[in-house]
Each structure stands twice: as C-alpha cells, then as structure tokens.
Symmetry: C2
Subunit: 218 residues, 2 copies
Amino acid sequence: MNVRSEDLTARARIRDAAVARFGRDGFRAPVRAIAEDAGVSAALVIHHFGSKDALRAECDQHVLTVIREQKSNAIAHASPAETIGMLATVQEYAPLFAYLVRSLLDGGALAGHFVDGLVDDASAYLQAGEEAGTVRPSADPAGRARQVVATQVGLLVMAQLDAAAGHGVAPTESPAEAIVQLYERSMLAGLELYTYGLLTDSRYLDAYQHFRQDKEKP
Amino acid sequence: MNVRSEDLTARARIRDAAVARFGRDGFRAPVRAIAEDAGVSAALVIHHFGSKDALRAECDQHVLTVIREQKSNAIAHASPAETIGMLATVQEYAPLFAYLVRSLLDGGALAGHFVDGLVDDASAYLQAGEEAGTVRPSADPAGRARQVVATQVGLLVMAQLDAAAGHGVAPTESPAEAIVQLYERSMLAGLELYTYGLLTDSRYLDAYQHFRQDKEKP
DNA sequence: GCCACGGCTGAACGCACGTTTAGTGTTATG
DNA sequence: CATAACACTAAACGTGCGTTCAGCCGTGGC
C-alpha cells in the first residue's frame, strides 16, 4: 500500500486495485472496472487469477494477512496510552478496513472466520485483563466477548452507511475517512461506557435473570 | 404476516413474498423467484410495481411501518421486566428483521434513515433514563447513543453471518432463528456490561482524554 | 350480446458482465 | 535464428435477469 504502483507487478497491481474497488463499490464491481483501475485488460485479470471469485479469495487472503500483521504489532505495545495511539495509524490501512467491512456485509467466508477470530481474540484479551485485574470478571465471558466485538462490527457497518449516503458532517467523504471519523466520535463514549457502565443500578439485570429462571423451570 | 396468504390480494402477496425472499437471499434475489413464491408470473410483479426497485421501495416502506408500530407498542410497557419480556415476541417479526438487516448490509436508503432513527430513539431513551435516575450521565450523550446502537447493529450483522455460514450451534438454522439465538446468547453479558461496566478503573479513559487534549493543542 | 378493462401470462428483448478465444508482441532458451 | 513461454489484448460468446410485448381470460356496464 505504501509502494508506488509502477513498482508492483501487474498481478499485485490488480490485487490492490481489486481490494480498493471492492472496498469502495462492493463485490458487484465489474472486473472491467478493476482492470481499468490497474491499467490492464479485463482478460488479464482472469488470466492471472482464473476467475473473479478466485481474485476475491486472494484479496481475502491478502487483507487478512496484512491486518493480522498489524494486529500483532498492536499487541506488542500493550499499555493503555499506546494502544490508543495506534488508532492514528488506522488511517493508512483504511482501504483494507473498507474491504473487510464489505466482506462482513456480504457474509462471505472471510467474514465468518474474521469475526470468529475477533471473538476469540477478545476472549483472550478479556481473560488476560481479568487476571491482571484491569477487567471485571463476568458471569458469561463468551457472551461478553461477542458483545464487545458486536460493537466494533456495528461501528464499522455504521461508518460504511455514513459513507454511502453522505449524510454525515462532510458530504462526500471516503469510506475510509468515515471509519476513522465514526471511531473518533464514539471512542470517548465507548471508554466511558466500559469504565462506568450505563445503568445506575442492577434492576434490568435482575429482571432478566429472573426472566431466564422462570423460563427454564416454569 | 398473520393473515393466510389466500386472503391477500396478489399485490400484497407479492410484497410479502418479496420481503421474505429479500430477507433470506438478499436483494439479488431474482424477480422470478419472488413471483414463484407468490404464485404469480414475473411479469405481474412488474405490472403491479413498475420495477424491481419500486417493489423494494414498497418493501422498505412496509417494513418500516410495521416495525415502527411494534416499537411504539414496546415503549407503552416500559418497566424493566416487561421490556425484557417483549423480546419473546421478536420471533414473530423475524422475517421483517431479516429484511431490515439485508437493508443495512446493502447500505440502501432505508438503512441510513433507520439507523439514524435508532440513534435518535436511543438518545431520547437515554436522556429520559438519565432524568429518571436509572441511567448514568455521560460526557458525550450522542456518542453513547451511537455506541449503544452500534452494538445492536453489530449483533444483527453477526447473526446474519452465523445464519449464512451455518457454523453456529444448529447447522442450518434460519436467519430469523439466528437473530433470536444470538440475542439470547448476548443479552446477559450485555446487561452485565451496561450495569457494571467492563474495566476496573479509569486508566484507559484517562489515557484517551489526555491523548485528545494533546492532539488539540500540541 | 358486446365492449372495455384490469388481472394475468409466456415468450421475447436487451443489457451487463464473467469468461473464452484467437491472436500479438516480447523475452528467454537451445 | 528458431522456438517456446509468457504477459497481454480486442473482440466475441453465453448467461442471468429486469423489463417489454402481445395477447388471453373474467367481470361489470350498456
């Protein structure tokens, strides 16, 4: 992504163009458009990858790999302040994220695995945090991990929505921008929520627990 | 939805079939399939609605209307226990939700408005809760509302994913079932999170607030 | 009885798009 | 120099699908 396009092989240029196009327009983007972006013919795309689906599979692989790398970088610096600081670098990888969101929305194979991976990671982090004393214990750790991941996923999707119909602050912002923006606009509230909670007492929680008990033994 | 299909006009039957199909297979579902579901010809679908897009617009309208009605029912009974109990009725409207999720995923016009509506509603509820003393005050009420809605959206999307690639508990569950299931599996953790928070202290929150300050005046 | 009309249909049209084909340089190999 | 191998292309093919066309019922009005 930080290499000039002329330096890349046609194959790589096509792959990058595909990631960008798919991320921006979704997977219905015509092969011909990707080809044009990469400065090649549509036939060459097929020649190199065999089919559009195969091209997409390779994009999946590529995106997953890069993001994994980036994530393992992130866990290296694990102090609160630095983890937060990492967000600034998100901007550079925004096209990858856009692609990822498309994949999520499309419900493709990548999406399922990726979300499962996120949930597993979240589980592990939360468990570690619990042991380190920074995270509260939970009656349902797996559910909590899903909950946390769901918020991430939801923010990504909402960012995509904002980008599609430009009813955000900036009219025709790029999907990439939208992701960064929405994160910035929700980060404070999110941390606040995770720090202090939302409710002042446990009435709702108690009510639900009673509801569950009644349901199991009526 | 609770009327037998023979009793409906062809127009309504087509609309219902379209909602169901679109919800299950996405908006790429062929008009011919919808027509077959409704027991009519493809040409009749166009005859009644003018185009596939117009049909979809009418589905949007229909779904939005029904869900709005249902939601205003829900706010009538506002005690914690009853609000929780309402969830049981979700099952009946699952096809509508499936359609809604598709719309979200597709990034259509409905999606944006719907999410905006959710955020507005959440804002209002949270504000009311705040005044009633059941909800904690926030430094960023709008951001918090988005955060809460993002979690809902994320859960819906994840449910859809689980339904698509049947790697859930039940192998080939319907999308509708998947939504209910995932909600059940995350409700306890969600309430716990909203009641007690996630973190044991405010280190992350403090770090972020410092980060923001540094960014504004470097 | 006849006519107009709206619900309804099967067949055909046309477009968008993935893929195939047949071929043209261009480069490495003997 | 001949030949094979490879990157690459323009044009054609085939298919899926939205939409249009031309016409068939069944019903209500005269």
